[in-house]
C-alpha cells in the first residue's frame, strides 16, 4: 500500500490545480467554459482530491506509524542548496487536508446555484480549484519551503476572489489592501525558512523538530534562532489570519461573493496562519519570547475584534470580526501550549463560520424565524459586560471601535502615505533633471511636456479600426 502514497499525494494536490489551469487556459485561448462545464470539472477535481486524501488517511492509520513521509526528489537544486519535494502525513496534515477538501466541495456546491448566471462563474471555480490546491500544499508540506509555495498560491487566489466584483471601486481598494498585507506578512515565512536553513541546515519539519509525532517533538536549534524563526512565523501567521497589526484587511475582503468569503475568511484561508503555528508548535516550546509575542498578538486581536465587531452594522462585517476574535483565541491557545485544543477549535470554527457566512444572505429570514419562535419575547441581549463598564470608558471604547481603533489611519500615515510621497518626490526629481538635461523647454514641433501630459509613443497614433468592436486592425 505504501507504494501508492506518492501518487495519491500528487493527486490530492495536483487534481484541483490542473483543473483550475485547464479552466483558465480554455477561458484565455478560446472562450469562457459553460457554467456546468467549469463547476463539474472543478468539483470533480475536488472530489478526486478528497478521495485521495481519504485514502492517504486510511493508509497512514493502517501503517501503525504516527506519521509517514513521502519523498518525491527535488524540485531544483544549485550548489549545496536543494529544494526538496517531500510531504508529511500525520494527524495534523491529514486532518487539515480533509477539512480543506470537504469544505471546498461543500462551498463549491453551494456556489453552483448561488453564482448562477454571474459573469464570473467560471472564474470563481477556477480560483476555488487553485485555492484548494494551495491549501492542500500547505497542509501536506513536509517543510517550510514547500509550505510557502502553497501559502502564496492561497494568497493570490484570495486576492483574486476579493476582486470578483471588479467593476466596483470597493473590491479593488480592498484587494490592494489584502495584497499589501499578505506580501508584508509573507516576508516572515520566507525569511524564517532561510534562517532555518542556516540554523538547522534544512527546513524539513522532521529535522527541525527531531523525532516525535505532532504535537510532540523538540527542536534542537539554538534559542536565538528559534526565537527569530518563531517571531517571523508569528508575523506571517498574523498576516494570513488577519491578526494585529494586519487586521484591517479582513472586513474589507468581505467585498467578494458570499461563497468566497465563506471559503477564505470563514473556513479555510483565515485558518492557514493557525495551521502554520500548530505545525510549528514544538519550535515555540523552545522560544519563550516568540511564545509571548504569539499570546500578545492573539490576545490583543481577540479583544480588538470583540470590541469592534459589536459596533458593526452589517452581517458580513460582524462575521469578519467574530472570526478574527476566535482566531486570536486560537493563537493564545497555541501560545499556552494547548495545541490539541487549538486544532479542535480550528476545525469546529471552520465549519461553523463557513456555514454562518453562507447563511448571511438569508440573515433577515433567519431573524424573522427566530422572532417567530420567540413569540414576541425580546431577542436575548449580550450587553452585560458593557453595562458593567464605567460610562466614560464605555463611550471611549465605543468611539474607538467605531473608528476601528484607527488602524487604517495608522497604516496610511506610517506605510502607504510615506511610500507614495517618496515615490512622487523621486518622480518630480527625475522630471526636473530630465528637463534640466534637455536644456529646458525644447519642443519645436509642438511635443508635449513630460510632467503633466500624456506623451504618445513615437509609433503612429491610434487607428479608427482598432476602436471598432472586433476590429482586426490591432
Amino acid at each position: 500500500m505504501l507504494e501508492w502514497l506518492p501518487l495519491l499525494a500528487v493527486l490530492a494536490i495536483a487534481a484541483p490545480f490542473v483543473a483550475a489551469l485547464g479552466v483558465g487556459i480554455v477561458s484565455f485561448l478560446a472562450r469562457v467554459p459553460a457554467e456546468s462545464t467549469s463547476h463539474r470539472v472543478i468539483l470533480g477535481s475536488l472530489a478526486t482530491s478528497a478521495a485521495a486524501l481519504a485514502a492517504l488517511a486510511v493508509i497512514t492509520m493502517r501503517s501503525g506509524r504516527p506519521y509517514l513521509e513521502i519523498e518525491l526528489g527535488h524540485w531544483f537544486r544549485a550548489g549545496h542548496y536543494e529544494f526538496e519535494l517531500a510531504f508529511l502525513l500525520d494527524e495534523l496534515s491529514l486532518g487539515f487536508g480533509l477539512l480543506v477538501a470537504i469544505v471546498g466541495i461543500l462551498i463549491g456546491r453551494f456556489a453552483v446555484h448561488y453564482l448562477h448566471r454571474e459573469s464570473g462563474h467560471a472564474r470563481f471555480f477556477g480560483f476555488l480549484g487553485l485555492a484548494v490546491s494551495g491549501l492542500e500544499v500547505v497542509a501536506l508540506a513536509a517543510s517550510y519551503d514547500i509550505l510557502f509555495v502553497g501559502w502564496e498560491i492561497v494568497g493570490v487566489s484570495s486576492v483574486a476572489m476579493v476582486l470578483f466584483f471588479h467593476t466596483r471601486p470597493g473590491p479593488v481598494r480592498a484587494a490592494m489592501q489584502v495584497l499589501l498585507s499578505y506580501r508584508i506578512a509573507d516576508l516572515g515565512i520566507l525569511l524564517g525558512a532561510v534562517v532555518l536553513h542556516d540554523a538547522a541546515g534544512t527546513t524539513r519539519y522532521e529535522a527541525v523538530f527531531e523525532h516525535g509525532a505532532w504535537p510532540l517533538g523538540a527542536t534542537h536549534i539554538e534559542v536565538s534562532a528559534a526565537t527569530i524563526v518563531g517571531a517571523l512565523l508569528v508575523l506571517s501567521a498574523a498576516g494570513k489570519s488577519a491578526q494585529l497589526p494586519f487586521s484591517a484587511w479582513l472586513p474589507r475582503a468581505m467585498e467578494g461573493p458570499t461563497p468566497s468569503s465563506a471559503l477564505f475568511y470563514g473556513a479555510l484561508s483565515i485558518h492557514a496562519g493557525v495551521f502554520l503555528l500548530l505545525r510549528s508548535a514544538p519550535l515555540f516550546e523552545h522560544a519563550p519570547v516568540a511564545r509571548a509575542a504569539l499570546i500578545t498578538v492573539g490576545g490583543a486581536t481577540a479583544l480588538y475584534a470583540a470590541l469592534t465587531g459589536r459596533v458593526q452594522s452589517d452581517a458580513k462585517g460582524q462575521m469578519a470580526f467574530a472570526t478574527m476574535a476566535q482566531v486570536g483565541v486560537m493563537f493564545v491557545e497555541i501560545g499556552l501550549g494547548f495545541t490539541t485544543l487549538a486544532a479542535l477549535h480550528l476545525v469546529a470554527h471552520a465549519f461553523l463560520r463557513g456555514f454562518q457566512l453562507l447563511r448571511t444572505p438569508s440573515v433577515i429570514a433567519d431573524v424573522r424565524r427566530i422572532q417567530a419562535e420567540l413569540r414576541g419575547r425580546p431577542l436575548p441581549q449580550e450587553s452585560a459586560i458593557e453595562r458593567s463598564l464605567p460610562l466614560p470608558l464605555a463611550r471611549r471604547l465605543y468611539r474607538l471601535a467605531l473608528e476601528r481603533f484607527h488602524l487604517d489611519t495608522l497604516a496610511q500615515r506610517l506605510v502607504t502615505g510615506p511610500v507614495m510621497r517618496a515615490s512622487l518626490l523621486l518622480a518630480a526629481a527625475d522630471d526636473a533633471m530630465v528637463e534640466a538635461l534637455s536644456g529646458g523647454p525644447d519642443a519645436p514641433d509642438g511635443a508635449s511636456g513630460t510632467t503633466n501630459e500624456t506623451v504618445r509613443p513615437a509609433g503612429p497614433p491610434p487607428r479608427d479600426e482598432t476602436l471598432r468592436v472586433g476590429g482586426g486592425g490591432a
Binding site: G79, I153, M176, G459, P462, R463, G473, A474
Partner: protein, 485 residues
C-alpha cells in the same frame, strides 16, 4: 559547422533588419498606413521576422544542444555561446519572437528594422568572445536607433541620446585601456576579454569604473536611469521590448565588471550588491507612484534587474545561478507585460494611469487582456510556480547568510514590485467601465504570444531543473572552448 551556426544566429537579425527596410511600409507619419497594400506589407514584415528570428533561435538551440561551447573566429573577432549568454541569448530571441507575433500591425513599418538591428547588436554583446565584437555590438545598440531618437518628438530625447553616447564612450574607453595594458604586458591575445579585465593591468581600476558605469547606464538603474523615462515614452513597441528584454548591461556587468571587481578588491562584493540593491529599491519605489504604464513596466524591469545584480554579486553558486535564471525570467516577463501594454496602446493610444480620474475598467471590454496582465505580472514578481520564484529563492538562499540586511531590503523591493503591478493592473483594468465599451479584446496572435510567455514562465517554474542546471553550468561558465572554426 556548429560554430558557424552561431554566426548565422547572430547574423539573421541583421539580415532581417535589412529585409524590413526593403519590404516594410513607410512609417504612418509619412504615408497612410491604412492603405491595404501597407497592411499587407506589414504582415509580410511580421511573418518574415517570425521566420528569421525563429531560425536564429533554432541555430542557438542546435549549438546549445551540442553543449561543447564552440568558438567562431572571424579575423580578430569571435563569438561563443558559453557562460550566462547560453541562457540569455535565447531568452532575448524568445522575447523578440513573442513581441513580433503580438506587435500591432501598424507598428510593423520600416522603422521596425531598428529593433531587429538592436536585437542583433544585443546578441553580439552577449556572445562576444573578444573586445572588438563586444564594443561593436555595444556601439551598434546605441548608434542604430540614434536617428530615430533624434527625430522623436518627445522631450528628453537629448537625454536618451546623451546617455547612449556616454555609455559607448565609457565602455570604449574602459576596454581601450584594458587592451593597451594587455599589449604593454605583451599578452598573446590582447583582445581577449580575460586579458582586458586582468587585475594585472595598471589601469585595472579605471577599466573597472568605466565598464561598470557603462553597464549601469545601459541597465538604466539608479542613478543612471534618467534616459529610461523619455525612452519609455517615445520608443516604438518592438524596440521597447528588445531594449528592455535584452538588457546587455547585465551581461557586461556579469562578464567583465564583477570578475574584475572581485579580483581587485576583497570587499568589492558588498559594494556591487549595494549598487544592485539601491537600483532595485529606487526603481521599485519610483514605480509605485508612476502614472504612465510604459514607464511602470520599464521601472519594474529595472528593479528586477537590480535584484539580479544583487544575486550575481553574491558569487556563491546558488545566488549566481539564481541571477542568471532571474535575468532570463526578467526577459520573458518583461516581453509578456509589454505585449499587453502594446496591445492596449494599439487600441487606446498611450495610457496614463491617472489616479485622480480613477480606474479605467478595461476588464469589461478586454477580459483576456486583464487576465493576461495579472497572470504574467504575478509570474514576473516571483509567485511560486514561476521561473522568477525559482530565481528569487536561489538568490535568497545564496545571499542571506552573507548579507542578511541586503536580503531583507531586497525583499522589500520585491514587495513594492508586487504592489506596483497590482496597482497598475487595477488602474487599467478594474473599476467601473469608463471609455472602453468599444475596445476589442486581445486578438488570437496576441493571446498565443502571451500563452507562450506564460507557458515558458510557469512551465520552467514548475519543472525548473533543466533551466537551473543549464544556468548552473553557465555560471561555472567559461567552459573551455572545445574547438574553434
Amino acid at each position: 559547422m556548429i560554430a558557424w551556426m552561431l554566426g548565422l544566429g547572430v547574423a539573421l537579425p541583421f539580415v532581417l533588419a535589412l529585409l524590413v527596410l526593403g519590404i516594410g511600409p513607410q512609417p504612418a507619419a509619412e504615408l497612410r498606413a491604412t492603405a491595404d497594400g501597407d497592411l499587407e506589407r506589414a504582415e509580410r514584415v511580421r511573418w518574415g521576422a517570425l521566420v528569421l528570428v525563429g531560425l536564429s533561435l533554432a541555430a542557438f538551440a542546435v549549438v546549445a544542444w551540442r553543449g561543447d561551447a564552440p568558438l567562431l573566429r572571424l579575423g580578430p573577432m569571435s563569438l561563443s555561446l558559453d557562460g550566462p549568454a547560453s541562457l540569455l541569448a535565447p531568452s532575448y530571441l524568445v522575447a523578440a519572437l513573442l513581441a513580433t507575433l503580438a506587435a500591432p500591425r501598424r507598428s510593423l513599418t520600416r522603422a521596425t528594422s531598428v529593433a531587429f538591428a538592436v536585437l542583433g547588436a544585443s546578441l553580439l554583446v552577449a556572445l562576444a568572445g573578444d573586445v572588438l565584437t563586444l564594443a561593436l555590438g555595444w556601439a551598434l545598440g546605441v548608434l542604430v536607433p540614434l536617428r530615430l531618437h533624434l527625430r522623436s518628438a518627445v522631450r528628453g530625447r537629448r537625454v536618451i541620446v546623451g546617455f547612449g553616447v556616454a555609455r559607448v564612450a565609457l565602455l570604449s574607453a574602459g576596454l581601450a585601456l584594458g587592451v593597451w595594458a594587455a599589449m604593454e604586458r605583451g599578452d598573446a591575445a590582447p583582445l581577449a576579454l580575460d586579458a582586458v579585465v586582468s587585475p594585472r593591468s595598471p589601469f585595472a581600476v579605471a577599466t573597472l569604473v568605466l565598464v561598470t558605469l557603462a553597464a549601469l547606464a545601459r541597465m538604466a538603474v539608479f542613478p543612471f536611469h534618467l534616459w529610461l523615462m523619455p525612452f519609455a515614452d517615445a520608443a516604438p513597441p518592438l524596440l521597447f521590448v528588445v531594449k528592455f528584454a535584452a538588457n546587455v548591461g547585465l551581461v557586461v556587468l556579469i562578464r567583465l565588471a564583477l570578475p574584475l571587481a572581485t579580483s581587485l578588491f576583497d570587499d568589492a562584493v558588498p559594494f556591487v550588491a549595494l549598487v544592485g540593491l539601491l537600483a532595485a529599491l529606487h526603481a521599485a519605489l519610483r514605480a509605485v507612484g508612476e502614472t504612465r504604464l510604459r514607464r511602470v513596466v520599464a521601472l519594474l524591469t529595472g528593479s528586477q534587474l537590480g535584484i539580479v545584480v544583487v544575486g550575481a554579486s553574491a558569487l556563491g553558486e546558488q545566488a549566481a545561478t539564481g541571477a542568471v535564471v532571474g535575468a532570463a525570467a526578467v526577459a520573458l516577463g518583461t516581453s509578456g507585460l509589454l505585449v499587453v501594454v502594446n496591445a492596449v496602446e494599439a487600441r487606446l493610444g498611450a495610457v496614463t494611469l491617472d489616479v485622480r480620474s480613477g480606474a479605467r475598467g478595461l476588464a469589461e471590454a478586454m477580459p483576456k487582456a486583464a487576465l493576461a496582465w495579472f497572470v504574467v505580472a504575478f509570474t514576473t514578481v516571483a509567485i511560486p510556480g514561476s521561473l522568477a520564484f525559482v530565481a528569487e529563492d536561489l538568490v535568497l538562499h545564496g545571499l542571506l547568510a552573507a548579507h542578511p540586511v541586503l536580503t531583507v531590503l531586497m525583499l522589500l523591493a520585491s514587495i513594492l514590485n508586487a504592489v506596483t503591478v497590482m496597482r497598475a493592473g487595477a488602474s487599467l483594468f478594474l473599476g467601473p467601465a469608463a471609455d472602453a465599451h468599444a475596445v476589442p479584446d486581445l486578438l488570437l496572435r496576441e493571446r498565443v504570444a502571451l500563452a507562450v510567455a506564460f507557458s515558458l514562465l510557469v512551465g520552467a517554474g514548475l519543472a525548473p531543473s533543466p533551466v537551473v542546471d543549464f544556468a548552473r553550468r553557465a555560471v561555472h561558465g567559461g567552459a573551455p572552448h572545445a574547438h574553434a572554426e
